[in-house]
Symmetry: C2
Subunit: 157 residues, 2 copies
DNA sequence: CTATTATGGATATTGCAGGTCCATAAAGAT
DNA sequence: ATCTTTATGGACCTGCAATATCCATAATAG
């Protein structure tokens, strides 16, 4: 249950791009040196960020990366989902188990009337989804610009 | 970024034990069949749950598992941490990177006075830790008993 | 044209979750 | 006593995904 290293690299890379002057391109060489990772590996991550519309890329001399949109429109969640994907953090693999039948045995009868299950689904999953939602909401409220502001506040304190 | 299958099995197993009569032991055979996993694999998980004081185990004929404490004292977090461990979900691997020095270069000077860094640490990690805390808090507030109550409410609805 | 830079495919490497097997110990049943 | 039942823990296997590298190619500036 850990975020991948790639997620950390992606976040740090995007933050660095946000610090660069608008319109200025930052090369993979510079980024890789900054983060302390290989250029080839980081370029894969940057490529994903580009495909998902987080950054823009320019080939050729004096090319490189820049943010595709304003830093206050890029949330932590946006960047994280590029690397981690968008699957739920918990999936119930006991769907056909007796466990669930026990949970809903009374409801089975009730659904004879309505023709469908009212509270259908795994109760464990309900809680886990709720927990995930708490985290997702927090990550959605924190933007890259927020980190820059926070850094500025810390520096001048 | 997913909870392991083992975590799901642990949660379902504990819930089943909570449904059993107090003082009654449930064997690994029954649990494994219920969850649809092998006995040998599930026994590893149960063993961990025992070591962490979530369940008790009895060897010998008519042995098996039972909860070590009341179901309303066992939170989702308790069970999850048994399987997933207690490490943080995010660790910054760019500790020595230029990135951080940029963030705190002004603070470096400030800390000449106090002798230590006030806002020491990676700002990315601060956000990630905050996000984790949201989820942890939620999981800490949801108990095994809560699921049983919720199941009862659904059944009689 | 040439130098520079990103891209994407192919290909290791590696760590770990997932899973099995077995020898051992403990406890009840006969 | 010993037999059966049950949990325990060590050793081991396996597949896959995260990590990581290399290279041929394309695009662009000068």
């Amino acid at each position: 249950m850990q975020f991948s290293k790639s997620t950390g690299h992606a976040l740090h890379a995007v933050i660095h791009l946000a610090r660069a002057e608008r319109g200025q391109h930052v090369g993979i060489k510079e980024l890789a040196a900054l983060l302390g990772v290989s250029e080839s590996y980081l370029s894969k991550i940057m490529s994903k960020l580009r495909q998902d519309g987080i950054v823009r890329a320019m080939t050729g001399a004096s090319g490189g990366y820049e943010l595709a949109k304003s830093a206050n429109l890029i949330t932590f969640l946006d960047v994280i989902q590029v690397v981690e994907g968008r699957q739920k953090m918990y999936e119930c693999f006991n769907l056909d188990s007796q466990q669930h039948q026990l949970f809903f045995e009374s409801e089975e009868q009730a659904s004879q009337h309505t023709g469908h299950h009212e509270g259908n689904g795994c109760l464990v999953k309900k809680v886990m989804d709720g927990a995930e939602q708490q985290m997702v909401h927090y990550l959605q409220q924190h933007t890259i610009q927020g980190v820059l502001d926070s850094a500025a506040a810390t520096s001048t304190k």
